[in-house]
């Protein structure tokens, strides 16, 4: 018998978890709209995040059209262009990726995967969603106010963010952006505390921490990080609001704007950058860690093999989470901060590559001697690995301080972060949706439409962002509304820009196939049954599919083994659910 590292089947389950009395909805409104059921909240978060994500997608089309055909579309002037890039970036990072991974997948999967009836604070959980929706609405309001949304770039660097040379800087745009972020953080904190406490306190009997699926480890660690990182953004937003509205000078030194001396003085623009990136870098991993966790489970389930090196995978997640708090200034190598910092931050940044590489090795080693089913979730997982490895490796260029100097602020950076924290996590989101949609709706997503969606998305995004690195290497700067006459850029570079734009339009259009699939399969999809992927984890063992309010019927599940008992030698099937006791009377330990 192979020794299982953690949670071997005969380990004694932890002490009795008292069952909880849930709020029972009394009307349609409290059941489906102001719902306290984490599963409904998860769907609300997901639908809202994907909807606002579509706005960001359209904005990216408009930017790409301008870059490929400068001046051809008259309405995409410089003001609009900068507003589009700002809103695109902010929406994708915060309002789509963070909200979808933590608010969407976190809400749906944490209680179900841990054998809980719901989150521990359902009312705060409900508030979390409605506050998030409010933040989204404030953000969108930016499009309709005088001056439009802010065009300061998603990094919102002062002083330009609050000056008149930037769209929305002296109008409503920047104010709404800051308000929206502040509201988002308040809402997120309510949800985030829920996720953390639920993981720590709400697990079923027998679900030790080291038996948790990696999905939960990823979301849990990311949430802890978010709770520590978002306050930095929060204070930065408040300080900038004070600078803009009350005339303080936190980030405002003496400035001559268009020949006129401003009243500010003594502030430090670079202080904002430190606060922003103290949030901003952990934010990358707040998006990446849930993706790491989820993709581990997708690979394991669809390769019918335990995740390779589970303990190492858990520790890698925790170590990456911890290290990500001491690497922030690698976004600031050319910011003018004391250059001696470069030595420290380059070293920490490259050290983070080691646990990250371990994760990649363990994913591909899970494939080794597996029984690989090329289902859509598996295809998306493979595509994720390719994209993530590519984007992660270019991170070694940008993290290595001196190599970053020529590449900083060029399209190389744009290509890098789109690969690593844009496309890669989104591929995981897609894989996860194909994987869990049957549990959420009871029906399978259509396979043919899924394959069309997969191939265009995977190869299309690679075709967009792989060549883009080379434009950056050439020296083409980012955040240029138009390149203008530039000696060092050959005309062929514009041909490449046109190609990238065409690919972006195609990839964007492929998402319509996906959306159609989501809606069509809801009514016409094949019946899924309770456990279509023959998976081990608890969410597939619910008495009903979709799971009812309270998840588990009369009795909470009891967990007897880790989440990865696939293809166990001697077992009748190629998976053993976590709820199945070890054969041979292992149930005696369960009796408390």
């Amino acid at each position: 018998m192979v020794e299982i590292p953690s949670g071997s089947a005969d380990a004694v389950p932890t002490a009795e978890v008292e069952d909880v009395e849930l709020y029972h909805p009394k009307s349609w409104w409290t059941k489906y709209v102001f719902s306290q059921d984490a599963k409904i909240i998860a769907v609300q978060y997901s639908v809202t995040a994907i909807s606002i994500g579509l706005v960001a997608l359209v904005l990216s089309w408009l930017m790409r059209l301008q870059l490929a055909f400068p001046g051809y579309f008259a309405f995409i002037d410089a003001n609009h262009y900068y507003q589009f890039i700002t809103m695109h970036g902010m929406i994708m990072v915060i309002y789509l990726l963070t909200a979808l991974f933590l608010g969407g997948f976190g809400n749906y999967l944490i209680p179900l995967m841990l054998g809980a009836r719901d989150m521990v604070f359902p009312y705060a959980n409900m508030l979390s969603y409605w506050i998030y929706l409010l933040a989204v609405l404030i953000l969108v309001a930016g499009f309709f106010v005088p001056g439009g949304p802010t065009g300061a770039g998603w990094t919102l660097y002062p002083p330009q963010a609050v000056l008149s040379g930037t769209p929305g800087g002296s109008d409503w745009g920047i104010l709404l952006m800051l308000f929206s972020l502040i509201v988002f953080i308040i809402g997120f904190t309510m949800g985030g505390l829920n996720y953390v406490v639920t993981v720590l306190q709400g697990r079923a009997r027998g679900m030790t921490l080291m038996r948790m699926p990696l999905t939960v480890w990823g979301i849990f660690t990311a949430t802890v990080m978010a709770l520590l990182a978002f306050p930095a953004l929060f204070v930065a937003c408040v300080m900038m609001l004070f600078d803009r509205l009350l005339g303080t000078s936190f980030f405002m030194p003496a400035i001559v704007e268009m020949g006129e001396q401003l009243q500010h003085g003594g502030g430090s623009p670079i202080l904002f950058q430190h606060l922003f990136w103290f949030f901003g870098h952990p934010e990358v991993y707040i998006v990446a860690l849930p993706a790491f966790g989820i993709v581990s489970d997708l690979i394991s389930t669809h390769a019918r093999k335990n995740i390779f090196g589970y303990r190492m995978m858990v520790w890698a997640i925790v170590v990456i989470g911890a290290l990500s708090f001491i690497v922030w200034a690698h976004h600031m190598y050319v910011s003018g901060m004391n250059p001696a910092f470069g030595f420290f931050f380059a070293t920490t940044t490259l050290i983070i590559a080691v646990p990250t590489a371990i994760k990649v090795y363990n994913w591909v080693l899970t494939l080794w001697r597996g029984d690989i089913h090329l289902t859509l979730p598996m295809l998306f997982a493979l595509a994720f690995i390719v994209t993530f490895v590519n984007g992660g490796l270019t991170g070694l260029f940008l993290g290595n301080v001196v190599v970053d100097v020529p590449l900083s602020d060029t399209l190389f950076v744009v290509a890098h972060f789109h690969m690593v924290m844009g496309v890669a996590p989104i591929l995981v989101i897609f894989g996860a949706i194909y994987h869990w949609y049957p549990k959420v709706t009871g029906r399978m997503l259509d396979d043919v439409l899924g394959h069309i969606h997969f191939w265009i998305t995977f190869l299309g995004t690679y075709a967009i962002f792989f060549p883009m690195h080379y434009l950056g290497l050439l020296g083409m700067p980012r955040r240029y509304h138009e390149l203008g006459d530039t000696v060092f850029v050959p005309p062929s570079a514009n041909t490449l820009n046109v190609f990238i734009t065409v690919m972006a339009l195609v990839v964007g259009a492929a998402q319509i196939v996906f959306l159609f699939n989501l809606v069509w399969s809801l009514f016409k999809g094949r019946e899924a049954g309770g456990n279509p992927w023959r998976a081990t984890t608890l969410e597939w063992q619910t008495p009903q599919t979709p799971p009812a309010h309270g998840n588990w019927g009369k009795d909470l599940p009891v967990v007897y083994r880790w989440a990865y008992d696939y293809s166990v030698p001697g077992a009748a099937e190629d998976f053993i659910p976590q709820t199945q006791p070890a054969s041979g009377g292992a149930t005696r330990e369960v009796v408390a």
Binding site: Y157, K305, V360, L365, I385, V386, L474, F488
Partner: protein
């Protein structure tokens, strides 16, 4: 099978693109060839890893894809293999980091003989200041900026009176002489970026940042702003001309000093 083929083609395609594409860095015009070398080392190491991981994955999919009757192996851990891979990675990372830090040390250590010069940014143009015969730049302050004194020099600092002031347009630098480029902004964050020099640095209002370089070949190069500074960001252009010493001196002699600028400013109200 299609998956395997596409993964392999993706690797081959990426390599071919890297080798054959016409888009590569501009011919260097400064002493920072070490930066380029470190970049090449990084390309090699990361390239090998990329190819190895994706091809290994393709092989796994080819060899272990599901067929009826197949069963996966059961192997939760392999500590030896895991530590071996982790150590190998650490070595690769060190191989990139070590030269990187050595070159960074050079980058941040300005040689004593480097001549100071100043770039001043504002929305959306470049100005320059070169030391006069005393070889020193005078003090400056954003608060001292007026229409007659666009760079905010301190009129009471004798070291500044002979400073050469170039508003907008064109900067000249002598070839082969190290320069310490001092960077100042009077409104928002900008970034002084000449692709051929490789070096770049943000310019922060309220502080003076710097980098150094030695121009190594004559020619005319674009100056771009590399930090978003408002709607005029892409139009914020300038030119730097690297000259032979004699040509540089000729150009320098034609420029006006701060003293001359003040004098012409005082004459105007009298007219």
């Amino acid at each position: 099978m299609a998956v395997v083929l596409i993964l392999v083609l993706l690797v081959v395609g990426s390599l071919l693109f890297h080798v054959l594409s016409p888009w590569w860095w501009t011919p260097i015009a400064s002493n920072w060839t070490y930066i380029d070398s470190t970049l090449v080392v990084t390309f090699w190491i990361t390239g090998v890893v990329f190819v190895a991981v994706v091809l290994f994955m393709a092989y796994c999919v080819y060899r272990f894809r599901h067929k009826p009757g197949n069963k996966a192996a059961y192997e939760p851990e392999n500590r030896r293999l895991e530590w071996l891979l982790a150590s190998g990675t650490a070595v690769g990372v060190a191989a990139m980091l070590a030269p990187g830090l050595i070159v960074w040390n050079q980058f941040v250590t300005v040689p004593d003989e480097a001549q100071p010069m100043e770039v001043v940014a504002q929305q959306w143009l470049w100005s320059f200041r070169l030391p006069g015969v005393d070889g020193k730049l005078g003090r400056s302050d954003t608060r001292d900026i007026t229409s007659e004194n666009p760079l905010g020099l301190n009129k009471n600092d004798a070291a500044g009176l002979d400073d050469v002031i170039v508003e907008g347009g064109e900067l000249h630098l002598p070839v082969g002489k190290p320069v310490r480029v001092l960077l100042r902004s009077i409104d928002v964050v900008h970034d002084f970026y000449v692709p051929e020099f490789r070096a770049k640095m943000d310019m922060i209002p309220g502080m003076v940042t710097y980098f150094w370089l030695t121009p190594t070949r004559t020619g005319t190069f674009d100056i771009l702003c590399a930090e978003l500074c408002g709607v005029g960001h892409p139009q914020m252009r300038g030119t730097v001309v690297v000259d032979e010493a004699a040509d540089y001196q000729t150009w320098l002699d034609q420029q006006q000093t701060f003293n001359q600028l003040l004098a012409s400013g005082e004459q105007q109200p009298a007219n």
